[in-house]
């Protein structure tokens, strides 16, 4: 035992090393991710930003284990799932990764409570009703448990989706443009809720959010800029203005990377 290196108590919630993903082959091949190295420590809120085609969505898809990267590794909570089978990645995903989507992705024929309990059901367990109720109360929908998605507003549906993402107590929550379909007031509620998941003492959640909205990014601790499948820069304690300014000058960041 080497006394100089104390192993970290918590491995990072999510790490990617040399993450590369190409689509197609030969001359027509498109390089969506070109060797991305990122580490997301436990209890952080990170926004991943970039113009269309910068590889944001591909990054999220690979980080979640939905798609296998062409090269590089994905390590979640200390588990390297890069070479796992589809089946094993699915089982891991539903226990350790929470998803929040732009389109909410609630099942239309299940009530809010049943939607929140669904990941546990899929894992073959009986949903913990107390926990489901407590999560719905936490997202401010204690009274709406019996409603179907069609009876809820967009913001309410997204809050149900956040409760669903939290139900398995995941290592990391991956959010894909979670406010893309919401008006600005509702978007604020949803972002504040994501922020509180990270800040609340008991929670210590980790959130990685892909977005193109500088206001949304300003709720994060750190912003990572992706351009042409590469990390073009990061910004700590972002403000909406600073992020918007940086986005307007991404070409300079790219020049910086190239040099």
């Amino acid at each position: 035992m080497n006394s100089h290196t104390t192993p970290p108590v918590h491995p990072p919630a999510l790490e990617v090393h040399g993450l590369t993903r190409t689509y197609g082959e030969g001359a027509g091949a498109v390089l969506a991710l070109a060797g991305v190295d990122l580490t997301f420590p436990v209890g952080t809120f990170t926004a991943v930003m970039g113009p269309s085609g910068s590889g944001k969505s591909t990054f999220l898809t690979c980080a979640a284990g939905l798609e296998r990267p062409t090269a590089g590794r994905v390590v979640i909570d200390g588990h390297d799932l890069t070479d796992w089978s589809e089946e094993d990645r699915t089982l891991f995903r539903r226990e350790r990764i929470g998803f929040v989507f732009q389109g909410f992705h609630l099942m239309p024929y299940l009530t809010a409570e049943q939607n929140v309990g669904l990941p546990q059901r899929l894992a073959g367990r009986r949903p913990d009703r107390a926990r489901v109720r407590q999560l719905l109360a936490r997202v401010g929908l204690a009274e709406r448990g019996g409603h179907l998605p069609s009876e809820l507003s967009g913001g309410q549906q997204q809050r149900v989706a956040i409760a669903r993402a939290l139900v398995t107590d995941p290592a990391v929550i991956l959010a894909d443009e979670p406010t893309g379909a919401l008006d600005s007031a509702t978007a604020h509620e949803v972002l504040a809720l994501l922020r509180s998941c990270v800040d609340d003492a008991g929670g210590a959640q980790t959130v990685v959010m892909v977005t193109h909205d500088p206001v949304a990014a300003s709720y994060a601790d750190t912003v990572v800029f992706l351009v042409d499948g590469r990390v073009a820069g990061t910004m700590a304690r972002p403000t909406a203005d600073a992020v918007a300014g940086q986005l307007a000058h991404l070409d300079e960041l790219v020049a910086g990377v190239a040099s």
Binding site: S57, L60, T61, A64, L66, E67, E86, E87, T90, L91, R93, R94, E95, F99, F101, Q102, G103, H105, M107, P108, Y109, L110, Q114, L118, P119, R121, L122, A123, G124, L148, P149, S150, E151, R164, D176
Partner: protein, 444 residues
Amino acid sequence: MMRLALASLRHRATASTATFLTVLLGTALMGSFATLAQTATGPVSDVDQDTLFIMGAVVGSWGALIVLFAVVSTVGITVTQRETEVGLLRTIGATPRQARRLVRAETLLVALVASALGAVLAALGGRALLTLLRSGDVVADSVRYDAGAAPAATALLIVLVSLVGSSFAARRATRGPATITPSESAAGTQRLRIWRVVAAVVLIGYGLAMGVVTITVTADDPDPYAAMQTSGSCAILVSLGLASLAPWLLRHLSVLARPLLGAGAAGHLAAYNTRRRSHLLAGVLAPVIVLTASAVGVLMAVGTDNRTRPGGYDDDARTINLLNNVVVGMVVVFAAVVVVNTFAAVVAHRRAELHRLWLLGATPDQVESSVLAEARVVAGVGVVLGLLASLATVVPFGVARHEGIVPDGQLWLPVLVAVGVVGLTLFSARSAVRRTAPALGGVR
């Protein structure tokens, strides 16, 4: 408009295939019998004319009922599935009238091509039927095949019926405000439309009344086939009536079918999907009911006829028996194709939703078994209702032929049909969900 319709059809292969096959086989089935009625108007003896009319018009009309129902229901499913897209078209400036015209143009294209091909099949099928009748000495060898305009008229009728069906469905799809957000509403469409109730009351009432007529009137007729004429179609009529109530029946009966689902996540999902979105799966339930009822009803009646026909089982009887089996065979094949078709169309439409389940951590096996669990409920409910409907033929005809309420033989037949129909439903669900599987992948 036609060009847009053509482009849009190419994007909707599965749903268009469902309409295409239903119209094609429907025209072939209905048209074959129509040619017999047409042949009867030619230079034939009075006896032959009677026989051909009974075959063509009476027997053909049972088939026609099923065909028209199937066309309306298939077209309805494919049009209703397009609510989102119709909403999108309207946000970019299409008036409800234009959106409806597009839907009608698409249906017209598919129905025209399919029914034209179907008319060719009908001309060939009618000739084969007549050859069968002649070789069995049911009609004189001198009777000449004369299809005349019958296949074309049938094709035209079916095209018109498809258009009416698509107009109804398109009106429903354009009723709401223009929107790009898909209305996945589980609620809302729960109320049973009044036309469904009216159709059900008329069809079931008529079917039961014909059953009563069989027992009280035609049972004493000197012609042994009078009772068969009145009771033969009762099962089909009652089953069509039940089929028009399919969304309501599925919602309420799926609760009873809960034990079929098992306790896992797949069963849980299927239980709520069949109950809260019964209008979606009702499209599959309807043909299952009709398939079961027509197969059991007509085959049992033929069996009773064989045992109790006055004058015993002679050559003549053998021919009639063969003909009956041909008729049932054609109807059953048609209904079976409709079951497979509608399942394919319904599941293809749910691709996004099944993909979402996978994103949330359902294994491909779980996705498949949730659809299979739904299929079990549909098959179970459909077979039970179909068997009930078949009683409308079996009981009156049995009483008329002095076998009583329970026929004297062939009690294995309903079991065999039930097993076959359940197998077919599960098979079509499985192949439909397997075909959507490559859609997995990606976050959205």
